[in-house]
């Protein structure tokens, strides 16, 4: 039996029933990493010893007849911007090389509390800025479906790890599509929860008003389980919302009858590849055949999403990344003559080109005399974008269906020299972050050359249950999610 091909639910059940030991499962995934990660390069750090210790502890509890958590013995990969106590957390950046956090992110504690086994830290674009992992200061992760292509980004390592069978589950973070776009490129389910649904404490900040942590899985039920574990209010994060967390699996009944699905015309425009449009529209037809009501809707402020996002996210980033100054942790230059020199040289050596560019854009947008024209204007646009969505929900729409990305995974190096083209690959995903609403990507087909195509569902704040229900119903009627990358 190839344990690494099983879903998280299958693994959890086998471990709980002591059909297989947690240790055996962990060893199987470590062996899989050993076998394929040289090609895929999903992991920045593999914490094999810790993983085995955690797995052994789960086995001891089970042997003693003690209660175990819902993820007992199930391996998970963590994006390398989630703080892990005692384990280096690089954020894909040279500037955080050697930074070992003295604390766990809240989601990491929740995972460990649920019995999960962390396998290690997954690669990402530096500070989560990018759509391909090519901005990682360490190396580029490859798409398990085609090693010449990117896995998407910024959570490309997390997505590739799950798609390659190196982990059944992974956590990523999503500021403008960084979970959904790699989920689409790698044929996975990826969820960006409502802003405030999951604690950001311990997530190295990119853009604080947009960042959310969310799950990667190979199917909806697994994603729902992982989301149930990590969601909830955290007294350490003022922006997390005190609202009860349901078991997101409870609503997965396959029934979409009567649900009203909106298809926003602006998301099926020029720039979206024909094969992507076709696959998504086919999925819409399928959902309609299952009893959903489909209607075309309009989100007129969509054209302002990208420009407003590329003011606000860099503005917040320019401030969030100010702390990397070489004084307390991470990279510190040598030979600086004063503190200004220390800051300038450390930051010049430590940050990559994309990060520097965004810091400069954000610094400019916040500067005296430009604030009103840029930052304030972008905030006003954000309000209008939020109103677009609010109007949809008010008219009775339960969820919107769009492509996740304009194309299937592109080749390594293909867009590396064209920052605008790279940024356009997030065109469909940015709006959910701007509006603070939940969104999900799932696989809705394959291109002729065998690459996954992603479909995005977006819903009102805290409608994760509905989005997962729709995705699950689609999954029951299709078999895309059962395909495996040819590794």
């Amino acid at each position: 039996m190839d344990l690494h091909t099983l879903t998280a639910h299958e693994l959890a059940e086998k471990i709980k029933s002591r059909d297989v030991s947690a240790r055996a499962v962990t060893d199987a995934f470590l062996a899989r990493i050993e076998a394929v990660d040289g090609d895929v390069k999903a992991f920045v750090t593999v914490t094999a010893d810790r993983a085995r210790e955690t797995a052994d502890a789960v086995d001891r509890r089970l042997a003693a007849g003690e209660e175990v958590g819902p993820l007992a013995g199930v391996p998970v990969a963590l994006k390398d911007n989630l703080c892990t106590e005692g384990v280096e957390t690089t954020c894909g950046s040279k500037i955080l090389r050697g930074f070992v956090p003295p604390y766990n992110a809240t989601v990491v504690d929740k995972l460990l509390g649920a019995g999960a086994v962390s396998l290690g830290k997954a690669n990402m674009d530096e500070f989560a800025m990018g759509s391909s992992t090519e901005n990682s200061a360490l190396f580029t992760t490859r798409n398990p479906w085609d090693l010449s292509r990117v896995p998407g980004g910024s959570s490309g390592g997390s997505a590739a790890a799950v798609a390659a069978g190196e982990a059944p589950l992974a956590l990523g973070s999503d500021t403008g599509g960084s979970i959904r776009q790699p989920a689409a490129f790698c044929g996975l389910v990826g969820v960006k929860p409502t802003y405030g649904r999951v604690s950001r404490y311990g997530l190295v900040a990119f853009a604080s008003s947009l960042d959310q942590i969310g799950p990667f899985a190979r199917n909806t039920r697994d994603a729902a389980l992982l989301l149930s574990v990590i969601a909830g209010h955290d007294p350490c994060d003022s922006t997390s919302v005190p609202r009860p967390v349901p078991d997101y699996r409870a609503g997965l009944n396959g029934d979409v009858r009567g649900l009203r699905l909106g298809v926003p015309s602006q998301y099926f425009a020029e720039g979206i590849a024909p094969n992507v449009q076709a696959a998504v529209l086919q999925a819409v037809e399928l959902l309609e055949s299952l009893g959903a009501k489909v209607e075309t809707v309009s989100l007129p402020y969509t054209e302002y999403v990208l420009p407003a996002y590329y003011i606000l996210a860099p503005a917040e980033a320019s401030s969030n990344l100010a702390r990397y100054d070489g004084v307390r942790y991470g990279h510190r230059t040598t030979g600086a003559r004063d503190h200004i020199g220390l800051f300038e040289k450390t930051r010049d050596e430590g940050f990559g080109a994309e990060v520097k560019q965004r810091i400069m854009i954000g610094t400019y947008a916040l500067s005296h005399g430009y604030y009103d024209a840029f930052y304030l204007k972008a905030q006003q646009a954000r309000t209008l974008i939020q109103r677009d969505f609010a109007a949809c929900w008010q008219s009775g729409i339960d969820a919107l269906v769009t492509p996740t990305a304009p194309s299937v995974a592109f080749g390594v190096g293909e867009k590396a020299d064209d920052p605008l083209a790279m940024k356009l690959s997030d065109i469909c995903t940015l709006s959910a972050n701007m509006a603070g609403i939940p969104a999900l990507s799932q696989c809705c087909g394959f291109s002729e050359d065998g690459l996954p195509i992603g479909l995005q569902l977006m819903g009102p704040a805290f409608s994760e249950e509905t989005l997962l229900r729709i995705a699950h119903a689609y999954e029951l009627a299709t078999d895309w999610h059962t395909r495996r990358a040819p590794l």
Partner: protein
């Protein structure tokens, strides 16, 4: 040379008295082993997030109410971005723009001549303190202590154009403000430890000018005296610069209290670029009107009200009342001692005179010596009843401060009661008998000479005789001759 006038804007920072820091659970206190009170939040570690200290918010709201401010029902926080090694996040969480917690208030000061003046306050807001850089001479590097990083800090800024027109007014403003903070128990007001920092912005202009002069900002003033001296020096310096044909440079200037001079620290000619924007990691403060009302109603009697009441209720001169109310405990001490006293003014005199001097020698506030309000009242009672003289009382009080005994105990143990009439009469008879020449002069009409005999009697009685008695007995005795 034209006549110049001084205007002073004041920025004051007060560290707030809270159990924990502004945005984390670390303890908020002064000093200690460097970096012993730090955590991921106040060290600005990646991934950490701030959580608001509600007590700090309450302290600022109460202060704003006491300073007659309008309270913003909706108040937000901003990031003030700049790079410095003592600023671990690369930004300070502060309140910028139109919605600080308090706006448009005022504080009344009273000048030495008893006239009062309102100093308008433009804003009262909440922010966090930074760490401290420690430079070691010749080591070639500096180190940072983050114990102070994230300590809640309140900023109080006077309005423009400035109402403060002299160095003395600036000192009075700082003193009065400190009193208010102490009464509210929101700050310990220790200027020497930096928990209360006053940063005056003095400028000068020729009398009659319709524009204001260029201001400089003074830092490291760690006493009220240095506030006044610093401004006096700076105003004089600015006038000399202008009269010498120069231009006052807008800059931050440090104050060297030992040398009594200010020195240039940092130019402010180019406006600092702080890139303020709303802090996305915190949710806005939305105040409930009922909560504000309950805070307003529970404000203590404030120094200015107390000063007026003490003067009226106890018949004190305004200047005495002003002295007594500077610290709430001093005023409480006075009221406890004056309760039921025949002459409250005598209580005030003793507190502001001898007791203050003795307390100062022990480096404690006047209310914190071993002398209780009851003991001080008892001592004044002994004087009033004629049991001891004022002169004796001085040494009695000294003993009370040193030992914590009551006046009655000291008097008893040392046998300091006023000598009986018989004893004094005996001494008088002896003195008269021993000085026949002086007596003769007096009889001849030289009344002044009686002073010598009084002195002799007082000396013989070791000060325990009452001068009135001595005078009367001497006259009787001389008349007998």
């Amino acid at each position: 040379m034209p006549e110049y006038e001084t205007r002073v804007g004041m920025e004051c920072h007060a560290e707030l008295l809270t159990e924990s820091k502004m945005f984390c659970g670390c303890r908020n206190e002064f000093g200690g082993e460097p970096n012993s009170r730090t955590c991921p939040v106040c060290l600005g570690l990646p991934g950490s997030l701030p959580v608001m200290n509600k007590k700090a918010v309450e302290h600022v709201v109460r202060t704003a109410l006491a300073l007659n401010c309008t309270i913003s029902l909706h108040s937000i926080f901003h990031r003030k971005n700049y790079f410095y090694p003592d600023l671990p996040k690369g930004y300070q969480i502060s309140q910028y723009g139109n919605t600080p917690i308090g706006t448009n208030g005022w504080l009344e000061i009273e000048r030495a001549d008893g006239t009062t003046k309102r100093i308008r306050i433009t804003r009262v807001h909440l922010e966090e303190d930074t760490g401290k850089l420690i430079h070691s001479d010749g080591a070639g590097y500096s180190v940072v202590d983050y114990n102070r990083s994230g300590v809640p800090l309140m900023e109080i800024v006077t309005d423009f154009p400035p109402d403060i027109e002299s160095a003395e007014e600036a000192r009075l403003y700082a003193e009065t403000l400190r009193s208010v903070l102490l009464y509210l128990q929101v700050s310990d007001g220790k200027m020497e430890q930096g928990s209360l920092r006053a940063e005056p912005n003095p400028s000068v202009r020729p009398v009659g000018s319709d524009t204001f002069g260029v201001k400089t900002e003074l830092k490291n003033l760690n006493s009220f005296r240095s506030v006044q001296r610093g401004i006096e020096y700076e105003a004089k310096r600015q006038i000399e610069v202008i009269e010498g044909g120069g231009r006052v440079v807008q800059e931050t200037r440090g104050w060297d209290d030992d040398k009594g001079v200010s020195f240039s620290q940092r130019s402010k000619e180019v406006e600092q670029e702080y890139r303020y924007f709303p802090e996305p990691d915190l949710i806005p403060l939305d105040f409930d009107v009922k909560w504000l009302d309950s805070l307003r109603e529970s404000l203590p009697e404030l120094p200015n009200e107390k000063k007026r009441r003490l003067a009226e209720q106890y018949g004190l001169p305004a200047s005495d009342a002003a002295q007594l109310v500077l610290e709430r405990e001093t005023a409480d001490f006075f009221e406890a001692a004056a309760k039921g006293a025949k002459d409250p003014k005598a209580i005030a005199n003793w507190m502001l005179g001898d007791l203050a001097r003795l307390a100062n020698a022990e480096s404690v506030p006047v209310h914190a010596t071993q002398v209780t309000p009851g003991a001080l009242a008892g001592m004044v009672g002994l004087i009033e009843s004629g049991a001891i003289t004022g002169k004796i009382a001085k040494s009695v009080l000294e003993e009370m401060v040193a030992t914590g005994k009551t006046a009655a105990q000291v008097v008893e143990e040392k046998g300091l009661t006023v000598s009986g009439a018989d004893e004094v009469a005996g001494i008088v008879a002896n003195v008269v008998a021993a000085n026949p020449d002086v007596v003769a002069k007096i009889k001849a009409g030289n009344d002044k000479s009686i002073g010598f005999l009084v002195g002799q009697v007082m000396k013989e009685s070791k000060g325990r005789a009452k001068p009135d008695d001595v005078n009367r007995l001497l006259k009787d005795e001389i008349a007998k001759q």
